[in-house]
């Protein structure tokens, strides 16, 4: 190995900030790939939830709609769940490759305690392969290929408290694939008061999702597009399971926000945006915030240009015209589309620049001018 790769440096950099917080509790791995098996390296070897045993030592994972059938010694599509002698294990419980305290607006959650901090974490792996993934250097790798730290759930809560973060956010890669760790951390929220946020692609089966929802405060789903072809061709996944997840989250009463990363020529047609907005209004409610965010070329989608701001503005206008109350634009710092406005009187309620909240005028969960309740988690 000739020095650190960019990926390793990124991971170590993210971990390094937190390493200062708990030098005695978090144990690292100093050379990616050196230790391939978690039970040999000190990381917890936790049997996976939501799988069934089949004949011939095979298993079928029932965590996500891929429902991988996995032979002995093999891993699922996510790369982090492995069959060992007919039992299925997660290799990423407590094995964090990225930790950072972020503004909650970065997730983005715009209707969850604006200006607060979220202790954000991730493991390696993902159950999709989006050609435009912004975090592919962790999401598309296997756990043994990235330096990591062993952070048990209780330590995670301690770190969040040390950082004065009222939230833990499962984010960056794809929390569905570190489900066992996520739910173990989220279940501690009732004891510690540190609430849990999920930032996910929503590609998860009904049963594990419903098991998780009672333990989380808010859910942000990346709705990659509103066309199945997009999901198949650019994400190696399917749209319908994500739409179902959105409805289950909403029915469970968990606060939901949706982000659509707008890729020029791929998911930005007026018809598609209109269909998406109509789905949200009809099935989830007009109060569910929808963020249209700007794409920057990365990973395997470097042939596309950055999303023109005018395209985002068009998406914004179409969604508003369809009757959605809260539509936002993302990755365009300083644009008025970052602000929250009262859907009744138009009063500017939360003023933002990038991830910073300049002013929050929401008073008692309502518009200070017309007193209309503004949905969200404000305290």
């Amino acid at each position: 190995m000739s020095g650190l790769t960019r990926r390793q440096a990124l991971a170590l950099g993210a971990c390094g900030a937190c390493g200062l917080l708990v030098p005695r509790l978090a144990r690292g791995q100093d050379e990616a790939g050196k230790n391939a098996l978690v039970d040999d390296t000190g990381y917890p070897l936790v049997e996976a939830r939501h799988y069934v045993k089949l004949d011939g030592k095979r298993v079928r994972c029932e965590l996500c709609p891929r429902r991988c059938q996995v032979a002995d010694l093999e891993r699922g599509y996510c790369g982090v769940r492995e069959n060992r002698d007919g039992a299925y294990y997660t290799l990423v419980h407590s094995r964090l490759v990225s930790m950072h305290t972020d503004p909650i607006e970065k997730k983005p959650f715009f209707h969850v305690v604006p200006g607060s901090q979220a202790f954000s974490l991730a493991t390696a792996g993902c159950n999709m392969e989006c050609k435009f993934c912004q975090n592919w250097e962790i999401s598309q790798y296997r756990p043994e290929q990235i330096p990591a730290r062993n952070v048990p759930p209780a330590v995670c809560h301690s770190m969040a408290k040390t950082e004065a973060a009222p939230f833990v956010a499962f984010t960056y890669s794809e929390p569905v694939i570190f489900y066992e760790y996520m739910i173990d951390v989220a279940r501690l929220s009732a004891k510690t008061g540190v609430r849990s946020l999920v930032v996910s692609n929503g590609f998860i089966e009904e049963k594990p999702l419903k098991e998780l929802l009672p333990h989380v405060s808010a859910f942000k789903v990346d709705l990659k597009a509103f066309r199945n072809e997009f999901y198949q061709q650019l994400c190696a996944a399917r749209l319908q399971p994500v739409l179902e997840s959105l409805q289950w989250i909403k029915k469970a009463g968990v606060w939901l926000e949706i982000v659509v990363l707008v890729l020029p020529t791929k998911n930005d047609s007026e018809d598609e945006v209109r269909d998406l907005a109509r789905f949200v209004k009809r099935n989830l409610g007009p109060e569910v915030p929808v963020h249209f965010t700007r794409f920057h070329p990365t990973y395997r989608a470097q042939n596309l240009p950055p999303t023109p701001v005018s395209t985002l503005e068009r998406c914004y206008d179409v969604a508003k015209a369809e009757g959605l109350y809260f539509v936002y634009m993302g990755n365009v710092p300083g644009h008025p589309g970052e602000n929250t406005y009262c859907y009744k009187c138009g009063e500017e309620l939360v003023s933002r620049t990038g991830f910073s909240v300049r002013q929050n005028r929401i008073a008692g969960n309502a518009c200070p001018k017309c007193k209309t309740p503004i949905p969200g988690v404000w305290s």
């Binding site: 059938q69 032979a71 010694l73 891993r75 592919w136 296997r142 395997r300």
Partner: protein, 328 residues
């Protein structure tokens, strides 16, 4: 076993009796190698090469490997055979398959015989690299890591991948730098075994160990991903030879070691055409499955469709009727 042998005899050709064009050794080598480069597959079997305790006789293995490479190239001596594939200035990788531990991985005896053969071509010992995805897998298969050795190198990729992915069909992966930077030539040295998704795991599937994200290539019975991956230039152009450790083979329950489905085939399979090699390997597994009353791979819903896809990409010959099988 008997059926396998009969089929081999039906389609085999006698080596040494082929056409010789020109008078010099180089012309002879060129002619034979050109013929072999299309779709000749050598199967060398030696009764007693395996031992009852699961071991192998290293001296016999070496003879078998050399004989198989000679027959695959159509040349008479090991020096000429390896010399037709590798040059003294090459750095040669030998990609072994070690997922399943000691009992169902490429035997060190096979890899070391290949290393010796490559050195006959004038390649320096320190320019031969026996490698796998990780050092841990190599160690579990009985290899001693020699990463910094001044002699033969034995090492895992161990996270040393290219930083940018390369598209292989619809999936992108980062290649091991052992493939992209360290080695000028490669040998695929798989084992002969069944695979629960791809049907069989042989010479082309072996290259899943060269990318950082093999799990993304498993959908749809690994089709067309096995072919798409091998079609990348750093594999298609660098892989000169496939030599399969078929001393023990496994007809079901792969890729893990399943002793109840293992049998002593006592063979080495070699070819320059990776598709033809895998087609023959798949047929050997199919015949053993039939002998045991197991369903065919098609009936088991995991036929190796990637074979025909590889042929369609021009990577070799998948049609058994067009493959010249040389058995000894």
């Amino acid at each position: 076993m008997g059926q396998t042998r009969r089929q081999f005899l039906q389609t085999s050709i006698a080596i040494g009796g082929g056409l010789v064009i020109g008078s010099g050794l180089l012309d002879q080598r060129a002619a034979r190698t050109a013929a072999a480069a299309t779709s000749r597959v050598a199967v060398v079997r030696r009764k007693g090469v395996t031992t009852k305790d699961g071991g192998v006789r290293a001296d016999v293995v070496k003879q078998m490997v050399f004989a198989a490479v000679c027959q695959a190239t159509g040349l008479d001596s090991a020096k000429d055979a390896f010399g037709s594939l590798f040059s003294p200035g090459d750095v040669v990788g030998i990609k072994v398959s070690c997922l399943a531990g000691k009992r169902m991985s490429t035997r060190p005896e096979v890899a070391l015989a290949l290393s010796a053969g490559v050195q006959l071509a004038g390649v320096k010992s320190f320019n031969v690299v026996i490698w796998e995805r990780s050092s841990r897998e190599l160690e579990r298969a009985g290899y001693q890591i020699q990463k910094e050795s001044r002699d033969l190198r034995i090492m895992g990729t161990d996270g040393d991948y290219e930083e940018q992915p390369i598209d292989a069909g619809s999936v992108g992966g980062c290649f091991s730098r052992i493939v992209t930077q360290r080695c000028t030539r490669q040998i695929s040295a798989p084992v002969l075994k069944d695979h629960d998704l791809s049907g069989v795991s042989l010479g082309m599937k072996n290259w899943y160990g060269a990318i950082h994200n093999p799990n993304k290539y498993h959908d749809n019975g690994c089709s067309p991903y096995v072919a798409d991956l091998f079609a990348k230039s750093m594999l298609r152009d660098k892989v000169r030879l496939v030599v399969c450790d078929a001393l023990f083979a496994q007809c079901h329950g792969g890729p893990a070691y399943s002793p109840e489905f293992m049998w002593p085939f006592e063979g080495i399979v070699a070819a320059l055409d990776p598709v033809a090699h895998d087609a023959i390997g798949a047929s050997i597994i199919e015949q053993e499955r039939k002998r045991r009353g197991l369903p065919t791979l098609l009936e088991a819903k995991r036929p190796p469709r990637w074979l025909n896809q590889a042929a369609a990409l021009g990577l070799g010959t998948a049609d058994l009727q067009r493959i010249k099988l040389v058995e000894s």
